[in-house]
Point group: C2
Amino acid sequence: MIAPEYLRHVDASPARAARERYRAGAVEPTSGVAPGFTQANMIVLPRDWAFDFLLYAQRNPKACPVLDVSDPGSHATVLAPGADLRTDIPLYRVWRDGRLAEETPDATAAWAEHPDLVSFLIGCSFTFETPMIEAGIEIRHITDGSNVPMYLTDQPCRPAGRLKGNMVVSMRPIPASRVADAATISGRFPAVHGAPVHVGAPELIGIRDLSKPDFGDPVRIEPGEVPVFWACGVTPQAAVMASGVPFAITHAPGHMFITDIPDSAYHA
Amino acid sequence: MIAPEYLRHVDASPARAARERYRAGAVEPTSGVAPGFTQANMIVLPRDWAFDFLLYAQRNPKACPVLDVSDPGSHATVLAPGADLRTDIPLYRVWRDGRLAEETPDATAAWAEHPDLVSFLIGCSFTFETPMIEAGIEIRHITDGSNVPMYLTDQPCRPAGRLKGNMVVSMRPIPASRVADAATISGRFPAVHGAPVHVGAPELIGIRDLSKPDFGDPVRIEPGEVPVFWACGVTPQAAVMASGVPFAITHAPGHMFITDIPDSAYHA
């Protein structure tokens, strides 16, 4: 958990500027936006489901590392003072009875349906992309200006209360000679998914075709590159689907909440 | 979160033997018992308070690093298959309306009062004492065969729902030349409180007299030694008191639950 003092000496204007653009209606994947500022997945649930989800996150910390939890009914977060969680993400998803009901750039109306919503902000692997780029490791989806590819695996999460589901992973093609570096660098950031959960052999975790991600965009895999898989903060959305959760609001995959917290704050 | 596969190849008979002695009625502080096996603090709350507490832990992870959460009504844990959380801790505390009502070596009767109790097991700094001893750092309370001294500070935790309270710390006197090593070694174990929260200057965190700990026993401080303070898993008991929690069962300070999990599993 990041203490407020992290914010005191940080010029977070690039993060704020991005949130203001999204609040005004801009829609784009956020990989590479406001580099150096931690991005977060979001899931918002009625208070009645909040314990089940917090426990699900606690039992599956690689996929669901919790960065902040709002008080019931609040749409604020200590990770970005002044931000409004209802509007400051570029694209939201509204879920009803476990099904995607709507995608919208403004969740204010959906948010008003429940008086006691609890918001969970969850670490995002975009956070360790900056140190990987600084170490000379190309991040293909940033190079190509696309969204990161994400896949629903056949690997079950540990259930909690009424919640169950399989893990979602993000994939980055990494040159074979840099896989160890990518594991080491990302491993220094356990709060944002940490080290990979799987390297190569996508079929062993139930991924049949890398060119057909379940979320995001496919990316080029060049000769000599290995697909490397990290636990992904879309895992809660898989749980919403698998568990038939009556009501939830989430970010749209790849369209994250940009916090005021510098990536270095999550360096273990 | 430790996966069950950790348990498959570990001979946990020393941990099991200690639990069996406590189940049979033995009462002792557990520092130094079954060395190499992770020890845990415990707090048990009715389901109605479980979300507040899990959120309190999430917001105060240095003091309350959660290792496992039981399902409501269960007294089992994945950290020690076959263990019974009602009997396998040497000494329990039963709390009513924020006050200590009873100390008992067997919590079975208190446990039966509520059908939906949720048990939280929380990391304990005893876990990093073994690697500190291996690095040649004396742990005074182990040398002297006493309980670790613990102090209620004036440092507030971040509140959550109905829960609030100040942080409790444990203290170990460390030679000035080894303070950095102690910080480094303990810092490798973030799931069991990690690096110290304070070094020297006890008055700055509201500790008036080191010879009068709020929990546990005082220890000798030799010339050239500095008092080093780690966040402590008795912090939930301070929250029970400060918040007037109607019902809770905890371990007695220093009398921990000994798990089957090797300390190395929590090495970051």
